[in-house]
């Protein structure tokens, strides 16, 4: 942690390029728009031609802005002698670290090619014995509530009485929430777009732990504010005016790790929102130093409930780790109104590569472990379970629901809707799309109104697809899909995975 904890002097060693922008000079009008827009300076105008300048990350900005449609970004073919064990990536990592002595930093979710378990799951549909429903002509309900449930119905004088819990429930029009992405990791325009979209879709969006910009309190009733170990930006209105408060214990991309917003991203606006000096690193400690046990967590939950006068549900987000079921049980017993589980493939604005790629539990297994554990302990009907981390499509969302999540958390997909190409350079702060950057000229590229409309389009479409699948399954309410693992079958390589998830293998019927 001391200065220069790397290893001192950097020893330079040139690595082969990974991508190269290729210009069709017959079509190029030499307008240089691509040169101007490339925040990685991977293109230059030399003589009368635009030529590659090295360092292309395949962010795709040049392709999108080229009026002549004459740019193609090509992956550079293997530059190392082939070897079955020593992949190019392994060798590049060694060469980089031998030069820098540093911990390799990365962003977005784990990018290795381990297949997602979601892809090994197949959905059921209704045939003959239970009729399917046409969602375009009959109601199929996707409204979901976030918060602590009363757990049972009570009947008085022949009428159902809804017993109130500690805190209210928050209505979501679809079983979806935007994950926590802080102001700092993304730009003001990007965060505003997410909040606007959440308001329009009537779901909630996470604030991340960077505090809440004063102008964004306009969307507070659709924001889930985050209390993380850095405690940035926490003031009474940050807790009281929002839809929900979430204690962040862990993040799927970096379980057990803290947060680190490098000083160059701590601009005047970020320092004011987080209330830290300009240009210092914004560090979130690895643990909460007031939470060393479930009992301590219960206290943090309770103090937040006291602080909000029981008007705001208080949830807890944990990273999916190997003992996630027992931890989830403790979290619910500690009084969490909702529990969020963030999986192995979840995104990040900056995380050590070794943790991002190697620590944690795939969300598919984590959801079913948590759901089964909470059911077994009689707690499942008291709490809302949110889950995310690598949810790429409505199909993933639907499978996550069937595995046992009430609400599915998405972040990267929303950023992609805005323009993100998942080039995984967020930690460099140079995002050419104006999303993961604080540089004013880059931020100005993202129109929050257009970005928000695109996000709304995407998730409206996902919700329609959810209704299509529910209808095809003969289910008229999403709540009947939650934890309904009987409507899934596993067709992957390892039946043990199906067994621990409580999902039957393909070919196994109900009887």
């Amino acid at each position: 942690m001391s200065e220069g904890a790397g290893a001192g002097k950097r020893l330079d060693h040139r690595l082969p390029e990974r991508f190269v922008p290729t210009i069709d000079h017959d079509l190029c009008r030499a307008c240089q728009r691509c040169v101007k827009d490339c925040s990685y300076q991977a293109l230059e105008f030399r003589g009368s031609r635009v030529v590659p300048a090295g360092g292309c990350v395949a962010c795709g900005r040049c392709i999108a802005v080229c009026p002549a449609n004459c740019i193609e970004v090509r992956p550079v073919p293997p530059q190392f002698a082939p070897h079955g064990n020593w992949s190019e990536r392994a060798r590049r990592a060694i060469l980089a670290q031998a030069s820098s002595g540093g911990v390799l930093l990365s962003s977005c979710g784990a990018d290795d090619d381990r297949p997602a378990i979601f892809d090994d799951l197949l959905l059921d549909a209704a045939q003959v014995t239970n009729p399917s429903i046409d969602p375009l002509r009959e109601p199929v309900e996707t409204v979901t509530y976030l918060g602590r449930r009363p757990g049972r119905l009570e009947v008085q004088d022949g009428r159902v009485v809804v017993r109130e819990g500690d805190t209210p429930l928050i209505r979501l029009d679809m079983p979806l929430m935007f994950g926590h992405i802080s102001l700092g990791s993304i730009s003001y325009n990007a965060q505003k777009a997410l909040f606007m979209a959440a308001k329009e879709l009537n779901i909630v969006a996470g604030s991340g732990e960077g505090g809440l910009h004063p102008d964004l309190y306009e969307y507070a009733d659709r924001i889930c504010s985050e209390v993380a170990s850095g405690r940035f930006g926490i003031k009474p209105e940050y807790l009281k005016e929002v839809a929900a408060v979430e204690i962040k214990i862990g993040q799927g991309a970096k379980p057990g790790h803290g947060g680190h917003l490098p000083g160059e991203k701590v601009t005047a606006m970020i320092s004011e929102t987080r209330m830290i000096p300009l240009g210092t690193d914004a560090l979130s400690p690895y643990p909460h130093h007031d939470v060393y046990s479930i009992e301590d967590l219960a206290q943090l939950i309770s103090v937040l409930k006291e602080a909000t006068e029981y008007r705001t549900p208080v949830g807890v987000k944990i990273a999916a780790v190997h003992n996630v079921g027992a931890i989830a049980s403790g979290v619910v017993r500690a009084g969490a109104d909702f529990l969020t589980v963030d999986g192995f493939k979840g995104g990040t604005g900056a995380a050590p590569r070794v943790i991002r790629d190697h620590a944690g539990l795939p969300i598919e297994v984590a959801i079913s472990a948590v759901d089964q554990r909470l059911v077994r302990e009689g707690l499942r009907n008291r709490v809302t379970v949110c889950a995310g981390g690598g949810v790429r499509s409505s199909a993933d969302m639907i499978k996550a629901l069937a595995l046992g999540a009430d609400v599915v958390m998405v972040s990267t997909a929303a950023l992609i809707a805005m323009g993100c190409r998942v080039c995984q350079q967020c930690h460099r702060g140079l995002c050419s799309w104006g999303i993961a950057t604080q540089r004013d000229d880059l931020v100005a590229r993202l129109d929050p109104y257009i970005a928000s409309a695109r996000v709304v389009h995407l998730f409206h479409a996902w919700n329609e697809e959810l209704k299509e699948v529910l209808g095809a399954m003969g289910i008229d309410s999403v709540e009947s899909l939650v934890g309904n693992r009987d409507r899934l079958r596993y067709r992957g390589p390892n039946p043990k995975i199906a067994e621990v998830m409580g999902v039957k293998h393909i070919g196994e019927g109900w009887g």
Binding site: S2, G6, L15, V57, P168, G230, M275, L283, Y310
Partner: protein
Amino acid sequence: MRDACKPKGHSHECDCGRECMAIADGRAVIDLDLSSERPMHYTTLNCAVRKAMRQGCGSIEIRGVIGQRYLAATASVPGLHITVHGTPGNDLGAFLNGPTIEVFGNAQDMTGNTMNAGRIIVHGNAWDVTGLAARGGQILVKGDTGYRVGIHMKEFGDVRPTLVIGGTAKDHLGEYMAGGTALVLGMGGEGVPVGRNLGAGMHGGRIFVRGEVPPDRLGPGAALAPVLPSDTREIMALLDDFERAFSVKPPRSMDGYVKVVPSSSRPFSGYYDKTSV
């Protein structure tokens, strides 16, 4: 308009006039010994405190406190003075945003957790994690404090939290400190008034210690620095605050102060490699 299926504020609404609370002339007195609910649950007590605040009381006196937690969390009434007799529980004055809380007794853990503004005065000891992530305001402790005190305090512009400890602090004082000032006076004790790992990973703020601090007490990222005239002025002002709060004359000699500062505001620069592999 909140889109909840139930209205906010539906539960834990105080049903007092409880027999334990008396309000007169803008002063509220809550005497837990007079309550039929014994020991009084913290939700009930906090509810009574909130009720007194809503009624515009300028002072609230709470007697007979025995470990009730979360007292005055997010209390935001400027100028309000809350007096606590007894031993408040953990998280006293969490997220405090303006009022003064004065404790005649010892405070437990996490006093002033993430406080924003206001003042907490403890006429006794305050134990672990006091002043965690304080963003502003002041905490004055007459006696000793425990482990991990003043960690991750912050500052922005003129908003700078201060923490004065009359006695000693244990290990990890000022860990992750990003701003603010901690002052340890070491009164009434002998030897080094701070524990190990002092200022570990600090990247802002300053810690003043009256007494010797052997270098091996410093955590990674912390460094000793000379006490400047501006520091002396700050220490003097904090001593004034301490004297006013406790009617105790702290030693005024500026000799023997040690200043601990971050060795860098960017402790992780150079630690990471951003190469795309």
